[in-house]
């Protein structure tokens, strides 16, 4: 990943941020300039809930080069306690140990490394509670 992208996305990737629309009061993820529900510009930053439950999960064996170091890994669709749904890895676990509905907590992990000399991409993943 290139420096401007890592820099631009650091807050939302590290902190898992969405928006709260001040007009329609609805939450959404990720950060956008306009509320995706009512198109209002009157929005504020929202820190997403740090815990949630697994709706779907599966294993990833083949992926981009910069993620292959971590494969096979588990990718999950997680519904956070505030109702927002996000896609994220369930790390420190194995497929056999997971069932739908399990509670998870957000953690800070390496998402990808740009070769031996490039930048490291950090972001949120989940671990079982």
């Amino acid at each position: 990943m290139e420096p401007p992208k890592i820099w631009r996305e650091r807050r939302e990737k590290y902190l898992a941020l969405g928006i709260l629309c001040q007009e329609c009061k609805r939450k959404s993820f990720p950060i956008t300039l306009y509320c995706p529900h009512c198109s209002s510009e009157n929005i504020s930053e929202l820190k997403l809930a740090q815990t949630g439950k697994i709706l779907h999960f599966t294993r990833v064996t083949q992926t981009a080069e910069e993620l292959m170091l971590y494969a096979p890994y588990i990718i999950g669709l997680v519904e956070l306690d505030d109702g927002i749904k996000v896609t994220g890895q369930i790390t420190d676990t194995k497929l056999e140990d997971l069932t739908e509905g399990m509670k998870v907590r957000m953690v800070f992990r390496i998402l990808s490394k740009n070769g031996e000399e490039g930048l490291i991409g950090y972001g949120f993943k989940f671990v079982l509670i």
Partner: protein
């Protein structure tokens, strides 16, 4: 005058463990002999998606969440480590962004072998005391490397501990700190080298023991205290035998040091070692307790601290992600997985 001291604390230990027995098997060593020498049974291993930055962030977030304060009030972040993910690009900046402390703060990465974290604590105490900042976050974090078959391989573990220093709602008041520094080449890693080198037995008497004893004695002399004044003590833990020996040399009892000895299960967490001991002690301490800590960093130096626990400690003890939680949250891996996770297999 308001108290100066530790306002909150947080820790992190990765989930994976490799046993001494498993490593000994690879090299046809006698595990019982090694275990009895080191009194270490297993060591912690970070997952492939972890490094010093991720472990620092977890410890820092636990510190901030336990404190329930505003991360924007953190005026300094220092991360002490000898295994920063970048040679140039501070881990402290990543921590700052990940705990939402950007951008009005000072920050730096520190390196002093295994005592860079406690050096960061001293810097924070100084900045807070001089009122240059309101709160300072000092982190000790390491994912230490050891050459396969080097004796270090049995103990080089990983972990992270963080302390928030300030003057409001202090849980452990700083009674004093005192340091020793000499040019002692017991352990080193040249720029660009992957694995550290060391002086084997030379790392003991003239290095670890001399500095730890001198700093500890020096602080107790300064404060007019003696080992029996303290409820708990923590030292740097390259193995379990060294801190037990140094405790005895100084006149501390096994009861006083016992809680701090996390090395048995996670090995030597380097910059986080004595600090994880302190975090574990804090979570098991009571108002009025007095706590002594002396770190050791090769190269070499020691920082000694004396703390007195306040009533505020009770508030923080209920936070769920404790050293104990991380000690219990573990999964054993074999040497093959270990090699992969540590990047030895390429």
């Amino acid at each position: 005058m308001s108290k100066l001291g530790i306002v909150s604390y947080g820790s992190y230990i990765p989930k994976y463990r490799i046993s001494i027995e498993e490593i000994a098997k690879v090299w046809d060593d006698d595990p019982n002999e090694i275990i009895s020498q080191l009194q270490v049974f297993s060591k912690s291993v970070p997952g492939p998606d972890e490094d010093v930055a991720t472990m620092s962030v977890e410890a820092a977030r636990n510190t901030i969440s336990r404190w329930k304060g505003n991360p924007q009030d953190v005026g300094a972040i220092y991360v002490g480590s000898e295994s920063h993910p970048y040679a140039v690009k501070p881990t402290a900046t990543i921590v700052a962004a990940a705990i939402d402390a950007e951008k009005e703060l000072t920050a730096a990465d520190l390196e002093f072998a295994c005592k860079a974290g406690t050096a960061g604590m001293q810097m924070c105490f100084g900045l807070v005391k001089s009122e240059m900042i309101k709160f300072g976050l000092a982190i000790g974090s390491d994912d230490s490397q050891a050459k396969p078959r080097d004796p270090l391989e049995y103990t080089a573990g990983a972990g992270s501990a963080a302390f928030l220093i300030g003057k409001e709602r202090v849980v452990a008041e700083l009674e004093g700190t005192y340091s020793i520094t000499t040019d002692t080449p017991d352990f080193w890693r040249r720029e660009g080298a992957v694995f550290p080198s060391h002086g084997n037995r030379f790392t003991g008497q003239p290095a670890y023991f001399q500095h730890t004893v001198d700093a500890s004695k020096g602080l107790m002399e300064k404060l007019g205290t003696k080992p029996s004044d303290y409820n708990h003590v923590t030292f740097h833990q390259p193995n379990t035998k060294f801190p037990l020996t140094v405790a005895k040399m100084l006149g501390f009892t096994t009861d006083q040091i016992d809680i701090s000895l996390i090395c048995k299960n996670i090995g030597n967490a380097y910059s986080a070692s004595s600090m994880l001991g302190l975090a574990h002690i804090l979570n098991n301490s009571n108002p009025g307790d007095r706590i002594f800590m002396t770190s050791y960093g090769s190269g070499a130096g020691s920082d000694a601290f004396s703390f007195s626990i306040t009533d505020e400690i009770e508030e923080l003890k209920s936070y769920p992600l404790t050293v104990e939680h991380y000690l219990n949250n573990k999964e054993q891996i074999n040497y093959g997985k270990y090699s992969r996770y540590k990047g030895i297999l390429r």
